[in-house]
Amino acid sequence: MNNSAPLPGSGALRAEFPILERKVHGQALVYLDNAATTQKPRCVIDKLTECYTQWNANVHRGVHLLSQEATEHYEGARSVVARFIGAKTSDEIVFVRGATEGINLVAQTLGRTLLGAGDEVLITALEHHSNIVPWQLVCRERGATLVVCPITDAGELVPGAFESLLTPRTKIAAFTWVSNALGTVNPVAGMCAAAQRAGAITFVDACQAVPHFRVNVQTIGCDFLVFSGHKVYAPNGSGVLWGRKAVLDTMPPWQGGGDMISSVTFEASTWNRVPHKFEAGTPDYPAAAGLATALTWLDAVGMERVQAHETALLALATNRVGELPGVRIIGTAAQKASVLSFVIAGIHPHDIGTILDRKGVAIRAGHHCAQPVMDRLGLPATARASFGVSNNSADIDALVDSIRMVQKLFGS
């Protein structure tokens, strides 16, 4: 840990986010929509500028110096990501556009070859649409069944349900580490162990985990893990699919094109080695370099400090918002990270979102791309505040004050 790095939530750290200087409807921006996307620290923005002003060239191709430098930045980024999540080798890091692409990649390659009629893919009722629909598509194509582990009213997996739904037919178990809609933290290590005992491949959606606490793929024991760069202070267009090399090696390619081939003739082509086999076309190397910068920056701030800070903020927000009359917190799991979903009696979340926005407070209102979660809890939508490394208790004050204003405006 670099002790000179600013503390989470401090003025010095907030000063690293240029966007926090802007005004929204004449008010200071209070950004509480980190679960949708995070803002970028200056070092990440500068990295993109550096790419386009210093070393922009196509990777893995040219003999010229710029291409060599671009390749070094791109492959160097792969090593940074590998170290950050505890991968054994950077060959296990596949760069993708985001988690959605990573999930589709595995569903369309491994899913298509592994699943047959009568087989099952086990997911949970907490999934984001992106960890439902790709499995739904491949299940339909292969005659397999999508099985869903139910949740309680608190938003936790029903105890024992996940294990009891694992059968010899379960070929893939895919689940989120942290619910984007409710903030529930799932016991992924235990789930991976149970699924692997049943002979299933395990796939963890870590989008809402990687920004908030230390993630190590060896500790979890999964076969695959995905996350999106844009949710972890990195540029849009960066994302990571990590897979165990032994499994990646067995998978057919996904998209065809440049970079993923070893040789091409009109009769047949052979594939490049993992991970390049899964990276058809010119990759978004500026975004990958920006991702490495973001993860290095986050490491300097310190994941332990990030987690401690955000845990304290979530507890403060839960108490302050939860004690407001007429406000109900949605998602009361014992283990939560970063997300505070709530509803106000008689006021639709969309109205809450509009009124908060006029006070400069940016939250999400809606189903959070997790309609089955909303259906299960009998709600059309919730308002969601989600926290990140730059937020502090003044942001919670602004949230609480603006919720009071909503209630005043609606006369409740």
């Binding site: 008689g346 006021i347 639709h348 979340p349 969309h350 109205d351 509009t354 009124i355 006029r358 209102a365 809606g366 189903h367 309609q371 909303m374 059309p380 939508a381 405006l409 609606f410 006369g411």
Partner: protein
């Protein structure tokens, strides 16, 4: 008046809290469902048509204050009217909420209260969803209408 107070006027909040003509019309001879996937608003409109006029109309569903008030005031406005008359009113409402209209237009009547929506482009669909759903009911569309 602030833009927020202009958006959430007393009449809109009143209709949102106590919507008129709420429920399902039985019997009815036309109905449709409307859905805004962005925010989850769902509106159902059921009509009793007689001699080309709306003899009775109701709406149900769950939506935000703007959507619910729009549906409520719409049902009051369209009763007894023909489709061409309703098209003309919706045209004015659409112009109003997209900033091209005029609150003093006599055809709008009470619907002028939605003038504040034009300052909130993200909320235009909330105000228009009930009208699109009413049109779908007229068309006897079997598939739900969507604002997307």
């Amino acid at each position: 008046m602030s833009e927020l107070e202009d958006l959430y006027q007393e009449m809109i909040l009143g209709h949102a809290k106590a919507p008129r003509n709420f429920g399902r019309l039985e019997p009815c001879n036309a109905q449709a469902q409307g859905y805004n996937p962005l925010c989850g608003d769902r509106i159902g409109v059921s009509l009793l048509l007689s001699d080309g006029r709306i003899a009775d109309v109701r709406f149900d569903g769950a939506g935000c204050a703007i959507c619910t008030a729009s549906a409520s005031l719409m049902t009051e406005s369209v009763k007894g009217r023909t489709r061409p008359e309703i098209d003309a009113v919706f045209h004015r409402v659409h112009d109003l909420v997209t900033g091209k209209g005029n609150r003093d237009d006599p055809l709008l009547g009470k619907l002028a209260v939605f003038g504040g929506v034009s300052e909130f482009p993200m909320r235009v669909k909330c105000a228009t969803l009930p009208w699109h759903t009413l049109n779908a009911a007229f068309d006897q569309s079997s598939t739900p209408v969507s604002t997307e």
